[in-house]
Symmetry: C2
Subunit: 722 residues, 2 copies
């Protein structure tokens, strides 16, 4: 069947049937009808289905969907769970394009519900009718004033606007909708509930194309289908529509709570964040940040061709000294920068502000000027026109009632002529007339200095991401649909025998990954022979399918400088291992060339996220990775820019870059290694579960890199098995 | 003169004179009078001074303070800046105890203002009359309903309560006062302005003793007098009154802004935070956090004898799945813990909640239960009575209007019987009736999940600090008042000649700090002689008053194993240094024993903060201190517990504690070294500007520690000078 991605007729249908329409007060069917008849601007054909009534509120009732005079674009289903399957079967047969299932009692309510949900899914797959829900509050198209929802709050959802909001659960979504009271304008809210068919991803894709949506806000409890999500966010990125996302279920506590709520697969929070960062999804940590950041983007979409937007230096305009300092602190703490005002700007400020005001950025006008709106207007306008300012922050610690309200009106006038947004911060709990003036003028106030500056910081990060975005890149899960599901992969890797270190190194070496010269010796003479070919010093390591942690059982000897030492090492390794693990089968010793002293050790790891696929991790080796979690991650494959960015973004990068007079490392070779690993995984995606190169030796410039130890979990191709 | 610390007669005077009382609308003198006559409950004797009027609003006007029939406790001065000095001179002569100077135009307004402010200071010092201000909005005693302020907002400051608020600037203070709209109850607000005499510290001390104040909130732009502040916060700690503080001017941007606003000395932000942590002042980062944290403390002061308070495990009670997960995420991210409910609690939850609700902590009741208040009450009460729960978090993502209002009333009823606070989080921008129900019931709602959990985390940290607080400890600046001002110290250290490494080591060794065996050799034979006494291997380092960075000029040679190598080292060091710095005077080479290989290197530093005095810094040596800022700091002197806590609180502590199978280090010797350094600085406080022991070698258990390199900036006692 052809499953349309165009949701226009769901969001703005020409004809609708409400199945289970009712007059019983506060029933779902009654509320849906009230929202459609009393609070919507629906001008298409509306049909009601109710087998026990002939008419409701002057509209004829049909006994069933099959009896309708035309096939409606959309069915809104408000019948008890037990009756839902029959209804949608009928809708599908009739050729209905979209069905919104408001009813609950499915996946979230035990086994029988889950079974019905699976049946529903099969109907959607078979018929091509797209299903929204179940267990959801419905859909609110605020811009067209259409509410296919039972929410009694729909009548208050009056503040339309360019934000597209998509959530899974209804509670958090309604919370964001209530930010309308602060001036947040939402055009469309989709709350996808149990996502039997349509998912958050489908709405992100739709909103990326929708003309009335400029910024997408996503509130995620779990991502069901990684490739579909990747495809959607890539599409939005190409269309230049920013996505601001809050993913709940990040901590262990939250993950458990999210699972019990939605039963989604939750991939790792780190991988989610990696994917977001990589594809320009702006991740935030709390509801207010979602609203703040999205509205800042509504007010100005960063232009990656503008130096001002990329540098994102701001002006602070304030009339209280302490508040100026507090806001400047937030700017400093978040790594945002204050613009240096141009001489013209400073001249205007000095001319009009009192001598004891602070005219350099951050500006403290002192309250003295609040009495004269002309001064406020002139000086603020000068700051807005400063060529180095990307936006102007207006922190307001307190509400002076009518005085503040007048100031707010002055600021709105300045905004009308300003090339950049003026962002008010309303810190007080007293929400007077000034607050409403800003809200109604589209200048939604932020509520704290810290959160405002956080939003600005994210805005700038997004501008820089946009500059670097390579729109033609395809993530690995989209390039190699053959990877298959996590379950299949797990079976595959379990059935394969463990891959030994020599096998892993041979496989990597064949792919061009630099590993030490090494061979497995079956007896001591072979070992001496190998060492003479490789050249001393060498390392000897036990090879055994039964031993994972070689060092722990005395299975490794390093710094072997001559034949005699090698003979001793042979004896002592065999003795230690036999003592520690008498049952272990020893295949021999791996004799390896030793890296030069004085290298820096890094680690390169690959893991497979059940939702998004293979992810590469890079960081400095040793204890600091564990203690400081100082790593960079990317979904594979990497571009050369990615690889370089990963190396540079770890905090300990100066260690590789010649800090404190140490030699610079071979960054080019390191970049090459990351790219090689990316290619290696891309070509063997269905065979690889996990790779751990730790340590990787990084020499000085020109000396290259060597993967000193290598572990691969997965299944070895036939050529490397012995 | 006797300068009283008892501010009772300032805060609640028996008689008051308003100097500059007026009827001119919106003048300062008129506003002060209106606040006193119309909006205050002042029952003492009120006198007005106005030379040009005989009476105002039925009150007789006196020509001057000298003419009053009695000496008032308090003078409120509302005359132009130029007339202030005369007025307070007269007040002082008359024996007035306290003067509030509302007028501005002093230290903040140029040189002439500064001069007048200095004169004002001398009057206070000479007479003992205590001066509040100038350049401040006045004092609001909300609990007694007394406003000695020109603020037209005083009439709205009706929500009295147990919080004592002390600020410097008025703007941020008024912002906190407006949190009354959220349910914040403030008993007294002091806004100390330019602090010519009375400072924030004096109000902290007063509030620590005041019976109607339970929690102190301080908003600081700069701390003028470190010892006075230390004394005040120590006093509050002994009295068991928590202080929640926001210090603005933390970042470089903020510090500049704060200086331009208050012209305070700003010590280092790190040192401020160190002092706060050490003396139990709860530092927060933004205005809302100040309000949230203070109110949580009002609702429950942690009892350090209670295991439940120390562990601070909480319950989450919520009716929306997504919101539950979001809140649980915040709990996980902040390192707070969720309580494991007792079997009795779980039994009640399972009995009353629907089968599909989440009954383990975090609880998701689902909205199904909101219809039945008896279920909410029964189950919430059970959670509140759970023996392991220190408080219950009630996240509310959205406002259902009257439904939410009814729920709020149900919750208030449960709270009345609950042994622990129920903390509502009102996440929506729609502030309906339910919000007011909570505000008015003393259950001030927090505004976001993240901030709520942050406040809870700080509450628990404070509980644990309280357990470990040693009330009899005196900080060094209180013990050694002879240290003198920063300016004096700087002169002292500048006049002294630089201290060489051998001198520093000799001085430290005499104090019992372990340094390597070392002697200065004037010629190569002396060097060989010293090496034979110390024993090879040795290190040789150039000794020169002209060379700061010995390694940079080839002035260090390590790992010298025999006489021949030492001769070579002698020649090559002299050759390198002569080449790099031909002018440098070389006194000889320091020949030192070498530490064993395989030690861990740490650093121990001492610096002198201009406000608070000597601070000790400890951390792992090398590049990670620079990159990760992983250090612990304490104001000196240290107790043994402090020293151990410092070692344990750095993130890289596992490196010292035998991580990844490495040997454990000699922590006892390291603790001993920190204590020795503390004693050393205490005994030589007036001589020491800065010490840098870097690296300090830390051996395995029983091997001790050695300060391999030592720099001291300051002035050497005569015994060690050569």
């Amino acid at each position: 069947m052809n499953h349309t991605l165009d949701l226009s007729l769901l969001v703005d249908p020409r004809s609708v049937v409400v199945v289970g329409a009712s007059e019983r007060p506060a029933s779902i069917g009654e509320r849906v009808l009230t929202n459609l008849l009393d609070h919507s601007d629906f001008r298409g054909n509306l049909y009601l289905v109710n087998a026990t009534r002939t008419e409701i509120r002057g509209h004829k009732c049909y006994e069933r969907v099959a009896a309708l005079p035309e096939t409606p674009d959309l069915a809104v289903v408000a019948v008890p769970a037990g009756a839902v399957l029959g209804v949608i079967e009928e809708c599908a047969s009739r050729g209905v394009r979209f069905a919104i299932i408001l009813s609950s009692g499915f996946g979230e309510a035990g086994e029988e519900g889950h079974r019905m949900q699976e049946a529903m899914k099969r109907i959607a797959e078979r018929s091509g009718m797209r299903i929204y829900g179940p267990n959801c509050p419905g859909l609110c198209n605020v811009n067209k004033r259409l509410g296919f929802t039972f929410s009694p709050a729909f009548k208050d959802d009056l503040n339309s606007g360019p934000v597209g909001l998509v959530t899974q659960g209804g509670g958090l979504g309604r919370s964001i909708m209530q930010a309308m009271r602060r001036g947040f304008g939402v055009g469309l809210w989709a709350s996808t509930g149990n996502e039997v068919d349509l998912q958050v991803s489908d709405f992100i894709r739709y909103m990326a194309d929708a003309e009335d949506i400029r910024v997408i806000v996503a509130l995620l409890e779990g991502i069901k289908d990684g490739p579909r999500f990747l495809d959607a966010i890539r599409h939005a990125a190409r269309k230049g529509k920013p996505i601001v996302a809050l993913k709940v279920g990040k901590s262990e506590y939250g993950m458990k709570a999210a699972q019990s709520h939605t039963a989604s697969i939750t991939g790792s929070a780190e991988v989610n964040s990696t994917v977001f960062r990589q594809f320009g999804v702006i991740e935030v940590d709390d509801l207010d940040e979602l609203v703040d950041t999205a509205w800042l983007l509504v007010r100005k979409i960063p232009d990656p061709a503008s130096q001002v937007d990329l540098q994102n230096e701001i002006g602070i305009y304030c009339s209280s000294g302490g508040t100026t300092a507090l806001t400047a602190d937030m700017v400093g703490a978040q790594g945002v920068r204050l613009a240096d005002f141009a001489p013209e700007t400073l001249a205007v400020l000095r001319e009009h502000l009192p001598s004891y005001a602070a005219t350099a950025n951050p500006i403290d006008t002192t309250t003295a000027v609040l009495a004269d709106p002309t001064i406020v207007e002139k000086t603020m306008a000068a700051v807005c026109r400063d060529p180095g300012v990307s936006m102007v922050l207006l922190p307001m610690a307190l509400d002076y009632g009518s005085v503040t309200e007048r100031t707010a009106r002055d600021v709105v006038r300045v905004q009308a002529e300003s090339p950049v947004p003026i962002v008010p911060i309303w810190m007080s709990d007293s929400l007077g007339g000034g607050f409403s003036v800003f809200s109604q003028a589209g200048m939604m106030p932020m509520r704290s200095a810290g959160k405002a500056v956080k939003a600005i910081h994210r805005w700038g990060e997004y501008a820089r991401w946009k500059r670097d975005f390579e729109p033609d890149r395809l993530p690995l899960r989209l390039r190699t649909p053959a990877i298959g599901s996590g379950a299949q992969m797990e079976r595959a890797s379990q059935s394969a025998s463990p891959i030994s270190e020599p096998q892993a190194k041979a496989w990597l070496a064949a792919a061009g990954v630099p590993v030490p010269r090494c061979e497995v010796a079956r007896d001591v003479d072979e070992a001496l022979d190998i060492a003479s070919r490789i050249g001393y010093p060498v390392v000897a390591k036990v090879v055994s399918p039964d031993i994972q942690h070689k060092s722990d059982v005395g299975g490794v000897s390093v710094g072997i400088r001559d034949d005699e030492s090698l003979r001793n090492a042979w004896r002592s390794i065999h003795a230690s291992v036999s003592k520690a693990m008498p049952e272990a089968e020893i295949e021999g010793l791996l004799i390896e060339g030793m890296a030069k002293e004085g290298g820096v050790e890094v680690l390169v790891g690959v893991s497979r996220d059940p939702v998004f696929g293979h992810v590469l991790t890079f960081g400095l080796g040793g204890i600091y990775v564990e203690l400081f979690k100082d790593v960079a991650r990317r979904l594979l494959p990497l571009t050369p820019n990615d690889a370089l960015a990963m190396i540079r973004e770890i905090r300990s990068f100066p260690v590789l870059d010649g800090a404190r007079g140490r030699p610079s490392r071979d960054l080019e070779a390191l970049q090459g290694l990351l790219l090689k690993m990316s290619d290696f995984v891309s070509e063997n995606a269905d065979r690889i579960e996990e790779i751990d190169l730790n340590p990787v030796w990084v020499g000085e410039q020109g000396q290259g890199v060597i993967a000193l130890d290598a572990l691969i979990a997965g299944s070895l191709p036939g050529d490397f098995a012995r």
